[in-house]
Structures are given as C-alpha cells and as structure tokens.
Subunit: 144 residues, 2 copies
Amino acid sequence: MKHTEKIDDFIYETTYWTLFLNPDQYYLGRAVVVAKRKVKDLANLSNDEWLDFAKLIKKYESALRKAFGATMFNWTCLMNDAYKNNPPDPHVHWHVRPRYAKPAVFEGIEFEDREFGHHYARHTDCEVPTEILIKIIKQIQNNL
Amino acid sequence: MKHTEKIDDFIYETTYWTLFLNPDQYYLGRAVVVAKRKVKDLANLSNDEWLDFAKLIKKYESALRKAFGATMFNWTCLMNDAYKNNPPDPHVHWHVRPRYAKPAVFEGIEFEDREFGHHYARHTDCEVPTEILIKIIKQIQNNL
C-alpha cells in the first residue's frame, strides 16, 4: 500500500479507514479507501469496521455529488496485485470511481466519463498536475 | 435484474440478500448477490443489511475455498447497466468473482484463471451446460 507513504493524496479518515485520492483522475474524485488495521480479506472485517465503512460510503458519495455533480459510483474490492507476491500480502482496500452522466468541469478542466452506463475503463492514466490534485482534494474536503 | 425470473441459478438466501450463480462460469463460482429490498444505492443500505452482507461474504468465501479451492475473491458493486435506462433504475447488487492461483477441476472440466494476480477479464462468456451449472450450485450449497 504505497498510499501510506504519500501525504499529499490524503482526503479524510474515520475510526477504521483512510481515504486517499487516486492520482488517476479520469473519473473525477476516484479514490482508495484503506483499512487502518492490517486485515487480509473482507471476511475478516469486524462489524464495527463494516458499519464505519458504510458511513464513509454515504459521506463520500454525498460529497462527490455536491463537489462535482457525480451521478453514481462504482465500488470494487479486488486486491489482485497482492497475489503477484509470494507469499501474497493482501491488505483490504476499496476503489471508488465516481461516474458522470454529463462531463464535470473543475478548474477549467473537463472530465468526461466516456463509458457512462458501462463498465469503467482501465488503463485510463489521466494524471493531472499536482496543484489540481490538491484543489480536487480541497473541494472534496469542503463538501464532506 | 433478470435473476429474479430464473429459478435455476438460485444458490442461497439470507434475511436481506439472495445469491444467484452467474451463467458465465469462467471464474468458477462467479455469482451475484442481490438486495431483497428495492434499494438504489449502497448509501441507502441499513446497518442490518450491511452486517447480513458481511456474514454472507464470510460464508460464501469459505464455501468456495472448500468446494473448488478458490484462492481469493473480487467483489464489485457497479450498477452501470441501470443507467442505460431513462430514468435509471438501479437495484443494489454485488458481483463476486472467485479467483484461482491454480486451475480448478470440477466434473472433468478445467477452469483456468488466466489473469490471476491481475484485474478480472471481461467478455469471458464461458457458458457451461445447464447440468454442470446445477452441479456447481449443488457443490456450493453442500459447502455453505
């Protein structure tokens, strides 16, 4: 989880989870939610961790609708990369991709969700300048 | 949700969720978990629905490890298709794809996860004969 080393992409934390902005902002507001505890599988989450995650979903979705007009959200827990290692070293985290029926415009940049209504695209690699990433984070935080 | 019309793909139900086998069995044991209540977004699930879902994850993952030797699992809540309609008509459901470090063999058929350690493949469309689907369901049920 390289996210823990980077301070700049921190958005928010709850008792059990930390939220980081994904540097790939093709889907504006795309983020990663990482369990604070070293937990390997969804099956090992506690009830408290689940309910805290549920609250975070509600909070993040609401913030993204207000901040950028997101329409809906794709949530995934995959953890495939951890199984490239031997032994595997999974650490529970979620990816959230806000999806947009209409292009979102932020700081003069248009973010267009060309696949809306379809599976998210992979290999999007839409890296925006650091100063814009920081403004995206601020805009989300102001709506949380 | 066409799943509600098909009886044959029913695997299991809990208080708040129903589990159906996906006809595409490229990832052996791939299934869909559908909320019984008409609920549009993860943000609208109740605490009871979340904790019931958490229990189902635990139960299903354990059953799949025993039934077929699954290594790990990809869980996704996407709901993109519902936004092809106007107005959109989302209904909360999850996809689970069991992933396999080594090919699984069931009823003489080899199920190979060629992307293990990577994002799941799309457009796999591995439809197996109905009698095999029924046996897959039975095998899962016997391990639940």
